[in-house]
Symmetry: C2
Subunit: 283 residues, 2 copies
């Protein structure tokens, strides 16, 4: 995500210097010659030399738990602008509140984009173009931070919307985190069927069609990042999964009924699904 | 499906004549000039004039319930080859058994392909190429039917596998019918969240990312066809959905635990999901 952001800045003619921080020497060596950023630094060296104040803008592109750790390390007198690309907001905003008791320049970002491939080597300059970026304030976020971060995303051709932390996390439980769990559940569930497992072994091609392939695309992607997402949005995800279960229970009761009692139910249900999908995806 | 099959036959140089049967005058008029088949006929006229025996091969490209109805209308002395493209097999094979007490030429097909767009106007000559076709015998299916239908699919560059009716229907409950219900449930469930619904209204772009879009692609497609699929595979789908619910219950219990008790669970779970997906999709 961070590498793609740097490439996008370059593409749109950003005049400043971009320094990429990497967590391992191996990652740093891998992208040394790729010209993704103007400079590269090991995170370890950055922290040891306390280089925060050398930068006007800091963007954390890290799993949420590590973002929270880094927020606690920010110097109290840091006067640059700060944001992150985290997928959950409650814990990040709490960390900002604990760090800064009064006005500060932290304005949190969640660009709704990504790829199954992580790491700077897979950076793409068009990853952000035309995408939505959700922005989240802490109570004391300065107007300057709001305006500069909003303009940064607009500069990269993103659209923006401001959503408070708790609302953000509930929405994402339904549109991203819950679906990620369900997609992963789906493939494990299907694979536990002996029939599926045995006939798959002997089939010249997968037994599944395009629907299953699409529904399972996100299953199992980036386990480390997703573990952090779930642990930082547990309550909202739990509540959304309990609601999913209630809805599933309802459909199971319908399936138990006699054919004449089900008459027309499914046609109607699928027609409503189409309307729900069109509404959510703005089709 | 039928229109695409005819275009594929033409593409691969099939020498015979293909007649397309349509259920409505409106559909017939729409494709009159599209040269999808050599001849077109209204189903009504075909049945009134009892034209079955004029054809060497009959392929039912209909919802499963209508396929079963048509099987019952086949002349007892029909000696051509017969197949269908139905998504469930138990009821079709039962209809074949009721129709033909001894040897017959019915060998059922289920090509694992399709599109959200139905109707002959959306025919595509490459819909079948490189796809799997599952074939299902009735006890008295003749060797001639097995060989001719198998060769037909190979001629269209499909791979084939033979799976008995009950096994087919259980596999499809996990890899297609259940996922279709879950995809439809997913969008209705998300849309019932007031947060999702309200913020979507005010957002310049959908709040969902690519994962949700992919998982919901099949939601609500072709409600009439899917109602027929569910009603003809109710038991297997019910049983698969009950298993899904048990697996979901297990994950809900994990989400209720304290963070330290969940430690490492999700990383491990997502890693297994990736393995399950790779196995099912033969990646």
């Amino acid at each position: 995500m961070g590498g793609s952001l740097s490439l996008a800045l370059k593409k749109y003619g950003f005049k400043g210097q971009v320094t990429g921080l990497l967590r391992s020497k191996k990652s740093l060596d891998e992208i040394q010659d790729k010209c993704i950023t103007n400079h590269l630094l090991l995170e370890e060296d950055f922290l040891k030399n306390n280089l925060w104040t050398k930068f006007d803008l800091i963007i954390f592109s890290l799993p949420v738990d590590l973002t929270c750790q880094k927020i606690s390390l920010l110097p109290d007198d840091y006067d640059g602008i700060i944001t992150d690309l985290g997928s959950t907001k409650k814990e990040i905003i709490e960390s900002v509140r604990n760090k800064f008791p009064s006005a500060h320049n932290y304005f949190s970002s969640h660009p709704m984009t990504g790829s199954e491939q992580s790491g700077a080597l897979h950076s793409k300059e068009d990853l952000y173009k035309g995408k939505l970026c959700i922005l989240t304030k802490e109570e004391h976020t300065s107007k300057e931070a709001v305006s500069k971060i909003t303009n940064l995303w607009k500069f990269l051709e993103c659209k923006t919307i401001e959503i408070p932390a708790l609302e953000h996390d509930e929405i994402l439980a339904y549109l991203s985190h819950g679906p990620h769990i369900l997609s992963s559940l789906l493939v494990n569930w299907a694979n536990k069927s002996e029939m599926v497992n045995n006939y798959t072994k002997n089939s010249p091609l997968p037994l599944s069609g395009g629907g299953f392939r699409d529904m399972s695309r996100i299953a199992g992607s980036n386990p480390e990042m997703w573990e952090a997402i779930i642990s930082t949005n547990k309550e909202a995800i739990l509540s959304s999964m309990i609601n999913f279960k209630h809805d599933l229970d309802f459909l199971i009761e319908i399936l138990r009924k006699n054919p004449q009692e089900q008459d027309g139910f499914w046609k109607n249900y699928f027609e409503n699904s189409k309307k729900s999908r069109d509404y959510i995806l703005k089709l």
